[in-house]
Amino acid sequence: MRHLLSAADLDRDEAVLVLDTAGQMAATQAREIKKLPTLRGRTVVNLFFEDSTRTRISFETAAKRLSADVINFSAKGSSVSKGESLKDTALTLQAMGADAVVIRHQASGAPHTLAYSGWTHGAVVNAGDGMHQHPTQALLDAYTLRRHLVGDGGRADATGRDLAGVHVAIVGDVLHSRVARSNVQLLRTLGARVTLVAPPTLVPVGVHSWPAEVSYDLDEVLATGPDAVMMLRVQRERMSSAGGGFFPSPLEYTRGYGLDARRLAVLPDHAVVLHPGPMNRGLEISADAADSPRAVIVEQVANGVAVRMAVLYLLLAGGEPGARTGDGQGRTHVRTDETRAHA
């Protein structure tokens, strides 16, 4: 793996390796000194064309915990209107010697273009592109699911395990959601079963080719007892029925697809609720559902750092013996298969 552009870049063993590595990373984070020397001397650039403070901070924290130098480059506004183009920016970063570029972009495929255009030689990590992919989000979701649902319901070590047999319902704006696209692919790779739940206007044409079932009826799906419910954020600008909105009103959406206490009560005892955040409380998720003990939404944020540490580690530390000289402290605590890291 040279880049992480899509959840589809990972096969089952690679995905499990990332999750296992994330587990090791999380363990180091319980120690008093959280910082590992693993990526000392390496430069990671956070290249954000689209605002996302949460994701940027998560990647920044992950890189810093691995002792990388971090440059935050926010190219706010549209790259589509020329000015600071993706290409110009990439060439600048290349000149600055970026070893990895973490890119968030409003255009689907921009990370792919960055990775294969020759504009930069660093590893490219997709931190969300348009409606396409957000692979580290899918990995942190999978990590969170594995912690709770695999290995005797989270009581035993799940290292090396995938998500075979787990049933996840992904609910909401599937059409515009890179989180849904990434999760469908990764969950499937890990052996889970996925049901997409959305009003028909928010299901993409072509969804029949996805490895997932589709339902328009949330209550029907909840009645089948899914192990996890992943709520998607609804973009406010998509709500109005004026101008071709995707549903008639927020209230109608909430009635059909909102997760509230009543629906929560239908779920099996072990089931968990996920949300990529930020939440629209009262729209796709009610306050009591968001704050219920089943909700692992806050934990997802913490797991995000560990997963992103694992990704940066596997992309950057694998091929460079020099990167792990020194006290070897980082290495002791990170068990990894060298050939995999090169893959």
Partner: protein, 436 residues
């Protein structure tokens, strides 16, 4: 003027014969040509296919306004190398070709360049805005003698404006060439809406957005009794609608591009903007349907939609990239590859869809004629056995956005004659100084 004796050429792929070109016309065929051609310049054409000069109804020459992407000079050089003796230059220039002055300017640039006839397309509406009819009659009566009107790049969406345009052009036997794209259904569209767009997360351009306009327009054309030309149709449904309209006797013609005959939306994987085009590349089923439609005559012509773009307009992420592909220099090869070499069409059919039909639709009297004594010597000599790898940097077009870059294609244009004068010989342009 040099006379040329083409020895052993195969007119429309038929039996080998000699063809003499003199005084701008096909002077003689067969034994008579050999007898009369004693001092003619001999072009050895054994095994080569002789076609009437190709005519494109759909070329973007970009001048005036975007001379960094293409000029009339560079675009018509590309046209000659592609075997074309006439092209229609689309109206979406800057300024727009929506007045007699601008169409005459483009027409003169073409005449002065001398590589092929340039017939400017007039805009249907002022500034391609879709609101007010441009002065269609003035353009028709100008030196450019415009017969084809189009807002290509934009759809004439307002049904009343479209109706008026169809009615109005009847006065001078014009044709409205529609870029069929329902604007609301294609807002933000980046590629064909389907399995691939869903996966890539690119906003889809649904087939129905084309088909709804094609269906509406054939009914409007029937209602007002006028001529409609459907530009670059791309879906199986559009082919069906045109087939139905023709069966009903509606005066509609249709066009398909070489890229829609060969490529599918699978090419968008990899987000390479060379494959970003409007209408978008469709599915394998659509490609099959347009091939079938072209073979059975439902689709009348192949139009290149040659759309050159400056490098920076394609060297960027998919969403920021311009729509369009170059096509003049590869069109004939693509048609040979997908239609002739597969046995779906003969060279007679190729002459029809790439020369006589577009000439008829554009009301060009001297183009697309039979290869017979007395006819204008607008001709293209093709080596169907040749194979070549497309290298955009080596093409004459000023732009490099070819979707066929690096691909091997069959066939090559050996010579092109414009009214008896060679614009291309031995596969290379005959420069101005060498002209007689």
């Amino acid at each position: 003027m040099t006379t040329y004796l083409l020895t052993g050429a195969r007119p429309l792929g038929g039996d080998p014969t000699d063809v003499l070109l003199a005084d701008g016309v096909v002077a003689a065929l067969g034994a008579q040509a050999r007898r009369a051609g004693g001092d003619a310049h001999v072009v050895e054409a054994d095994g080569l296919v002789l076609l009437p000069g190709l005519v494109d109804l759909h070329t973007h020459l970009r001048e005036p306004g975007r001379e960094d992407a293409e000029t009339v000079e560079s675009g018509t050089r590309a046209a000659a190398l592609g075997g074309f003796t006439a092209v229609h230059a689309m109206a979406n220039t800057t300024p727009t070709q929506d007045t007699a002055g601008v169409v005459e300017q483009v027409w003169r640039l073409g005449r002065d360049a001398g590589w092929c006839d340039v017939h400017p397309v007039g805009a249907v509406t002022v500034g391609l805005a879709g609101e007010r009819l441009a002065e269609l009659s003035a353009m028709a009566r100008s030196a450019a003698a415009v017969r084809v009107f189009s807002d290509d790049g934009r759809c004439v969406h307002d049904p009343v404006v479209m109706r008026r345009a169809l009615e109005y052009v009847k006065a001078f036997d014009g044709v409205v060439a529609q870029h069929a794209q329902e604007p609301r259904l294609t807002e933000g569209a980046q590629m064909h809406e389907g399995v691939v767009s869903a996966e890539l997360g690119l906003t889809g351009w649904p087939s129905v957005a084309e088909e709804a306009i094609v269906a509406r327009d054939v009914l409007l054309a029937e209602h007002v009794g006028s001529r409609l030309h459907v530009l670059h149709l791309s879906t199986a449904g559009s082919v069906e609608i045109v087939r139905w309209a023709k069966a009903r006797g509606i005066d509609v013609t249709a066009e398909v591009t070489p890229h829609h005959l060969m490529l599918t939306d699978e090419r968008a994987r990899g987000y390479d903007p060379r494959f970003k085009v409007n209408p978008p590349l469709r599915t394998a089923e659509d490609v099959e349907a347009v091939r079938e439609g072209l073979a059975d005559g439902t689709i009348d012509t192949v139009g290149t939609d040659h759309a050159p773009h400056a490098r920076e307009d394609k060297d960027c992420e998919w969403a920021a990239a311009a729509f369009g592909m170059t096509g003049l220099e590869t069109a004939l090869s693509v048609v040979q590859a997908v239609m002739v070499d597969t046995g779906r069409m003969t060279w007679v059919d190729v002459a029809r869809v790439m020369s006589s039909a577009p000439a008829r639709i554009g009301r060009l009297t001297g183009q697309g004629r039979p290869i017979a004594p007395g006819e204008p010597a607008n001709l293209t000599l093709v080596d169907p056995a040749a194979r070549r790898v497309v290298v955009p940097e080596q093409q004459a077009t000023a732009s490099v956005n070819s979707p066929f870059a690096g691909q091997e294609l069959p066939g090559s244009v050996v010579a092109t004659f414009l009214r008896g004068r060679a614009t291309v010989l031995d596969g290379a342009l005959v420069e101005q100084g060498a002209r007689v």
